[in-house]
């Protein structure tokens, strides 16, 4: 259970004026829920994710994870970034093992678990490759394996498929859904893509252009397991409904 209570956040650039990025956001996310934070660029959706992750200090309001205020990043909240953020000097295997080393697991357990997650994301055979030798999709698989390997309760995803080509993205979306259904993690997924939000999330938080506020909460009650989901009328209607909410904000953000 994650609760965001009246959170505001101001960016203070070294030069230039302060910018109010988030304005009085309140939100609560249930365990095992898949929530999308949707909005135009600059609406503060990533900032909200970083606050939940503990990467930025909460200055106004409160964010609690299972009742305890968020103070710092921790392995209970795994993060996946748009540009992967793999350690370029480590091989795929060593990237995935990194979090396991920090947990001081025995060496053979590290090996076993790293291999398990590398196999799971389909990177078998690339264990000894450096990230610079991988394609974008493979890098994101490696990053996902690294995050999943420490078995966090929550996944924070910051436009994770935004840097991938359309085909790869759609494959990764399907894989993420499968992983979510299997592992039952809470997922907070930042995106500006309405289609992606409806496809993946159970609930979509539509945010307004700067300063970011919660404009609407939309439930998406669709059968994610249906392979023909995207061609169903219900899917199209949901996309339309949310697109209308986002459209005005997108125009304002132009």
């Amino acid at each position: 259970m994650i609760s965001v209570e009246h959170v505001s956040h101001t960016y203070r650039p070294a030069r230039g004026r302060d910018v109010l990025a988030l304005d009085d956001i309140s939100l609560s996310i249930a365990p095992r829920e898949f929530v999308a934070l949707l909005g135009p660029s600059g609406c503060g959706k990533s900032t909200l994710l970083y606050l939940i992750g503990g990467f930025l200090p909460v200055e106004k309001g409160a964010i609690k994870v299972e009742g305890a205020p968020v103070a710092a990043p921790g392995p209970d909240r795994g993060i996946v970034f748009q540009h992967f953020a793999l350690f370029p000097w480590k091989t795929v295997k060593d990237n995935v093992r990194y979090g396991l080393q920090k947990q001081r697991l025995p060496r053979d357990e590290q090996e076993r678990r790293a291999q398990q997650y590398i196999d799971m994301v389909g990177l078998k055979g690339f264990e000894e490759s450096y990230p610079s030798h991988l394609s974008g999709g493979m890098k994101q698989r490696a990053a996902l394996a690294r995050t999943l390997a420490v078995e966090p309760k929550m996944l924070l995803m910051d436009e994770p498929f935004g840097a991938l080509d359309a085909q790869t993205r759609s494959l990764m979306q399907a894989e993420l859904l499968a992983i979510w259904q299997r592992t039952q993690k809470t997922v907070i997924f930042v995106t500006h893509d309405v289609h992606e939000a409806v496809l993946l999330a159970q609930r979509v938080v539509v945010m307004s252009a700067r300063p970011g506020k919660v404009k609407a909460l939309v439930d998406v009650k669709l059968d994610k397991a249906d392979p023909h989901l995207v061609r169903s009328p219900a899917f199209g209607e949901k996309v339309d409904e949310i697109w209308h909410l986002v459209r005005d904000e997108a125009i304002k953000a132009l």
């Binding site: 970083y50 992750g53 503990g54 990467f55 710092a72 990043p73 921790g74 392995p75 909240r77 795994g78 993060i79 970034f81 540009h83 953020a85 350690f87 370029p88 000097w89 480590k90 990194y98 979090g99 920090k102 947990q103 450096y130 610079s132 690294r146 995050t147 420490v150």
Partner: protein
């Protein structure tokens, strides 16, 4: 094959002297230099002086690398350290390091100590600056990833900031390596009773130009050799790039 021009230069050198185009008083022939060098190598003096230089150079450089890298990374990581060290580094960096030769001699005399201190002081700043710039270029999201995977703030410094700084740091160390040769030889020329620089000066004053040239060539070769080995090492360390 790549070093064919060097061979050509050696042939031209030998040729112009043998043909009498250049007086042997100005430039002894390469063959004379080689035989003088051979004679020098069979006497103990050369090795004593060489070892003295090697010890001074490596000790000073090692101190400069370790302390320079630590200071540079701490400067990038903690604002307080930056506020204190930043202006010092900035002010001292452009100073001609050879100006310190008489100063370190005054403090520590004619022996190893003054050379080691000189090389340490002279080579530290390029390393510090490189480590600082490299550490500052460290990506925020790499730090965040490491933190969320369970690394402490201090651990991130070793696991993420240091390797991020490495490409730039290794470049800085390369400059420091070249600078250490300059400082070593010039300080030994001026204030020393030992070392290859001292030997060059000593042989020159005695009019033994064949031998003097031989030592100059040895120093040049050592500098080249050290740089090649260092480059090979750096390429290995940075194999993950490309």
């Amino acid at each position: 094959m790549k070093y064919l021009p060097l061979l050509l230069l050696a042939l031209i050198w030998e040729g112009v002297v043998q043909l009498g185009l250049i007086s042997r008083d100005v430039l002894p022939s390469l063959s004379d230099v080689a035989s003088a060098g051979w004679k020098l190598a069979r006497e103990g003096d050369f090795w004593d002086n060489g070892l003295a230089s090697l010890w001074r150079g490596s000790a000073g450089l090692a101190l400069a690398i370790v302390i320079g890298a630590v200071v540079g990374i701490l400067m990038a990581w903690w604002r307080g350290v930056e506020a204190f060290m930043g202006p010092l580094v900035e002010a001292l960096y452009p100073m001609p390091k050879s100006a310190l030769i008489p100063v370190t001699a005054l403090w520590l005399g004619f022996g190893d100590g003054s050379k080691i201190l000189l090389i340490f002081l002279g080579c530290m700043l390029p390393v510090t600056l490189a480590a600082y710039n490299g550490a500052r270029s460290c990506e925020q999201q790499l730090v965040w990833s490491a933190r969320s995977l369970g690394a402490s703030r201090l651990r991130v410094l070793i696991d993420v900031v240091l390797p991020s700084a490495l490409p730039e740091l290794l470049n800085g160390i390369r400059s420091a390596l070249a600078l250490s040769f300059v400082l070593l030889v010039s300080s030994e020329l001026i204030v020393a009773r030992k070392g290859l620089g001292y030997l060059i000066g000593f042989l020159g004053e005695g009019g033994l130009y064949d031998a003097m040239f031989a030592v100059v060539l040895v120093v040049a070769f050592l500098g080249f050799f050290a740089d090649r080995i260092y480059q090979a090492f750096a390429d290995r360390v940075l194999a993950w790039r490309d």
